[in-house]
Symmetry: C2
Subunit: 238 residues, 2 copies
DNA sequence: CGTTTGGTTGATGTATGTCAATATTAGTGG
DNA sequence: CCACTAATATTGACATACATCAACCAAACG
């Protein structure tokens, strides 16, 4: 994708590293940058007053995030690193000028926004109507698909690095760390998938896909093993 | 908002009505139009293979929807009417040309997309971490705020029309119709709010807000009674 | 080494689901 | 306007997925 490399060149020289567990964007503050993750994982998260916490979205290498910095002043949520990361960034004005002038860049930004919206829709469905088991299966399959699609792992690979702790998985899945543990044990006992030491090892891709199928839309059901890696490009309106 | 009236004139003459329970956009099909609801309510919904159903977003009068028709070919979800509606529409190409040429229109579309994303974020938090009671309180307050903000009701009003059945509320809340009924009865018994005959009557706005507070972000907590009607304009990047 | 952080497991509690019966309301054709 | 029907709402008894609490283990870490 050409927009990709153009954005990279806009952000050239701005790359930085951050430790795991750091806060990139603080909820409620002004923010002026748009970011691209080069390596490592991050998340958009909302901490409620009573301590409950929800990871709203998880960002993987290659993802653009805080694109809306271009358009709004404040985020109501924080963005935090999950692992240590390498990222690069551009001031929203820089990106916006390029965006206005170059449709490849506009396309790449729009694609990210649309993709994020698609994932939010799916996640609303999962949280609203899925069991803990279905959600976890969906998440593990989706991570794999996204890693394949961004070239981090090969499309035949059944192993990938996944830095979330069980507590963090729980924060995204909307359940308890204890329950994540139990579902993972069940997956392990049934030789479906093992999550251990920061990596996911899939023993039975089909079995995993079967457990996620109930939550998929009609199109994804066609080939559940590749959820997360078949995306429409924003190809209209050119 | 000027973009509003410009969009209205783009859509001029295209208005149409539809009965309650009709399908405006069928999941998985191509769609070429962007819509604006003039009156009535609609929703984006995903029906799972086993019959579970989730309302992903609910659209109120004034809302633009299917804005992403401008950028992608297919929706994985349907858009259905909840009440009978009056709406108008424009072919995505028409809107895109105007969008490219007129920043007011671009701003209005972006505002809609950003606003929708904000509501999706909040709803992920609600579904992931909220109790049935908290979610329902949040939803009823949010509806009111949005109706105020779009001028359908006055900002002092404690009554509004709300055409969702308990079953449909359940589909958005991610719970069961039976449980919606129980929570509503509890609200009624405690003189918080009554939902009946397609309208919502709030007896204790503060009490309702209190029940939604745990799910609000820091900014919304400032004035919970007006959640849904304080929105940032997309005012950067001009 | 102690201390912390994350993982594992069991016992028990609870919010919400499921099922089923009945009441109420809304829609429809006569 | 009535009689009939289909939705929707309401309520109770019971089931269950998941939460909570608490203990313990293992690895990482200073």
């Amino acid at each position: 994708m050409r927009g990709e490399s153009k954005i990279a060149s806009l952000m050239h020289g701005s790359s930085f590293t951050m430790a795991a567990g750091a806060t990139l964007i603080e909820a409620g503050t002004e923010h002026a940058f748009v970011y691209r993750l080069i390596s490592g994982w991050a998340c958009r998260t909302r901490l409620l007053a009573d301590g409950r916490n929800q990871f709203i979205l998880i960002f993987l290498p290659g993802d653009l995030f805080a694109v809306k910095s271009m358009f709004v002043q404040q985020h109501p949520d924080s963005v935090q690193t999950i692992s240590s990361i390498v990222a690069e960034r551009a001031h929203y004005k820089t990106l916006y000028e390029a965006y206005a002038a170059d449709s490849d860049i506009a396309t790449r930004c729009l694609w990210q926004v649309m993709e994020e919206e698609r994932r939010l829709h799916s996640w609303v469905v999962g949280l609203g109507r899925g069991s803990a088991e279905e959600r976890l299966a969906l998440l593990l399959i989706d991570f794999r698909g996204r890693l394949i699609s961004s070239g981090v792992i090969d499309s035949s690979s059944l192993v990938y690095e996944m830095p979330l702790t069980q507590g963090q998985l729980a924060d995204h899945l909307g359940i308890t760390a204890v329950h994540v543990n139990r579902v993972l044990r069940e997956f392990r006992d049934n030789r479906i998938v093992t999550v251990r030491d920061g990596h996911v090892t899939i023993s039975d891709l089909n079995g995993l896909a079967q457990r996620a199928i109930p939550l998929l839309d009609a199109h994804e059901r066609t080939n559940p093993a590749y959820v997360g890696c078949h995306h429409q490009e924003p190809n209209k309106a050119k």
